[in-house]
């Protein structure tokens, strides 16, 4: 579904990604972890072309991201993305946040979009908040709305960029629960996160990044059982004992 082939990216002379190669197959849940500044957020943003890269190629469902003739808006409309800081549109109500892209991008009728949005809100447990504005919701609620907004586009894959790191601790689980449910339903997901509990529960594969490189890319049991690199061992012992 997604293939990354030798992705390299520089900010000026500083190399943020070097030769990253991996793939995500349909129905797979891949967790990307690593210390901050390791390039994991940058990597996931390359997949839907939010971050340009200088070398390598990414294709999503057979369509190359960095070719000039690629219709990027169309490609992005099929890839759901959830951000660290939610990024709901503050001037729109919750229901409008969920319906604006289906109506304007997918050209769905308003009724159809609202119907679908209400189902999704029910699914994340927020149908009673449809008329509110994002600023009136808690962080956890906002992030659940953001997940529903991405799902409203019927994406073929969902990208999560540290979806719980901006949340108060007691709100993390309500967001993770929604994500676990999504994973169990077979959604293809790539998740940048430090939540190792989530990784252990639903991930098929774990990618460990350090200094812009993919250091380990192995199935979950192998990764947690016996990480090969010293860097990953250190990372895991720190993160699991804290």
């Amino acid at each position: 579904m997604i293939t990354l082939d030798g992705i390299s990216k520089w900010y000026g002379k500083f190399q943020v990604l070097s030769n990253c190669t991996t793939q995500v197959t349909k129905g797979e849940v891949v967790v990307v972890c690593g210390p901050s500044g390791s390039g994991k957020s940058t990597l996931i943003k390359c997949i839907n072309g939010l971050e340009p890269f200088q070398k390598g190629d990414i294709s999503v469902d057979g369509i190359s991201v960095n070719q000039a003739k690629t219709n990027l808006p169309k490609l992005r409309s099929r890839v759901g993305m959830v951000f660290q800081h939610f990024e709901l549109f503050p001037h729109l109500s919750v229901i409008d946040n969920l319906t604006i892209a289906p109506i304007k991008v997918l050209k769905r009728s308003r009724e159809e979009a609202i119907q679908k949005a209400m189902l999704l809100l029910a699914r994340v447990g927020l149908e009673s908040q449809a008329k509110k504005f994002p600023g009136q919701l808690s962080g956890g609620q906002q992030q659940r709305v953001a997940i529903a907004r991405a799902l409203a586009m019927d994406p073929i894959v969902m990208l999560f960029d540290e979806p719980t790191s901006a949340l108060d601790p007691e709100m993390v689980s309500e967001v993770l629960d929604v994500m676990v449910e999504l994973a169990e339903e077979g959604m293809t997901m790539m998740v940048v996160t430090h939540e190792m509990g989530f990784a252990k529960k639903v991930a098929h594969r774990v990618i460990f990044m350090d200094q812009g490189q993919i250091v380990e890319d192995r199935n979950k049991t192998e990764f947690f059982g016996s990480p090969q690199s010293e860097r990953a061992q250190q990372f895991l012992s720190k993160i699991l004992h804290s």
Partner: protein
């Protein structure tokens, strides 16, 4: 107060009102044109296509570095000659003070509104832009549904303040003898030799309107700020 004759105001009210009408038309036209074209110009200025952003920047710099009176004069005296050259007519083609004022004010205000709107667009966090892109919006959808609605809410007070300044600036059209509110009052004042009465009256009216509007802007500002 024996030497003052405030009756002159009452006598000339219909004429003064005609002047005020023109002032309001001029203000609203320059405001509407300024905001509409200013938005397009701001988008051009921020565009990643060099010829577009260079042309837009040049226009804004030119207008903002030129006194408004000069723009009005240019237009009033040069456009007739230009029109003559283009149409090949024997005499300069007169444009008339009213049209001159409408067009030159709009052209001038576009540059000022453009700078306000550019700052407003740039005040929208990049995360919002990313979120719009990630949902599949094209550049223009993104502007229309995500960036501009938030930007306009943020800049509403500044836009209105600029419009109040514009309302006062329209009095400059007296230099080409257009009959705006001040122009009308001035003509009456000269005719009846009642300069003090008429100019005092004009000053009070300008103050009342501008002050009321700026109080209104203050209240609007509180009401419109976005809850984040």
């Amino acid at each position: 107060m024996g030497d003052f004759d405030f009756d002159v105001i009452a006598r000339s009210l219909p004429y003064l009102w005609k002047g005020m009408e023109y002032t309001l038309i001029l203000t609203l036209t320059a405001m509407a044109g300024g905001i509409f074209f200013g938005t397009l110009l701001a988008i051009a200025k921020l565009s990643s296509i060099p010829p577009l952003s260079i042309a837009a920047t040049a226009y804004v710099n030119l207008m903002r570095s030129t006194p408004l009176v000069l723009v009005i004069f240019w237009f009033y005296f040069l456009v007739p000659l230009l029109a003559q050259a283009i149409t090949g007519s024997e005499q300069p083609v007169p444009v008339g003070p009213d049209q001159t004022a409408l067009i030159s004010f709009t052209l001038f205000e576009i540059a000022y509104y453009c700078e306000i709107i550019r700052a407003g667009i740039q005040s929208i966090p990049t995360g919002q832009v990313s979120a719009g892109k990630a949902l599949g919006f094209t550049y223009f959808q993104q502007m229309l549904y995500v960036v501009l609605p938030q930007a306009f809410r943020n800049m509403l007070p500044v836009l209105l303040t600029q419009s109040i300044v514009l309302f006062q600036d329209t009095s400059l059209v007296y230099v080409i003898s257009a009959t705006d509110f001040l122009g009308a009052a001035s003509k009456v004042a000269q005719r009846d030799s009642r300069l003090v009465e008429m100019y005092s009256f004009v000053a009070v009216i300008y103050f009342l309107i501008s002050f009321t509007l700026s109080q209104f802007v203050k209240r609007l500002q509180l009401k419109f700020s976005i809850v984040r």
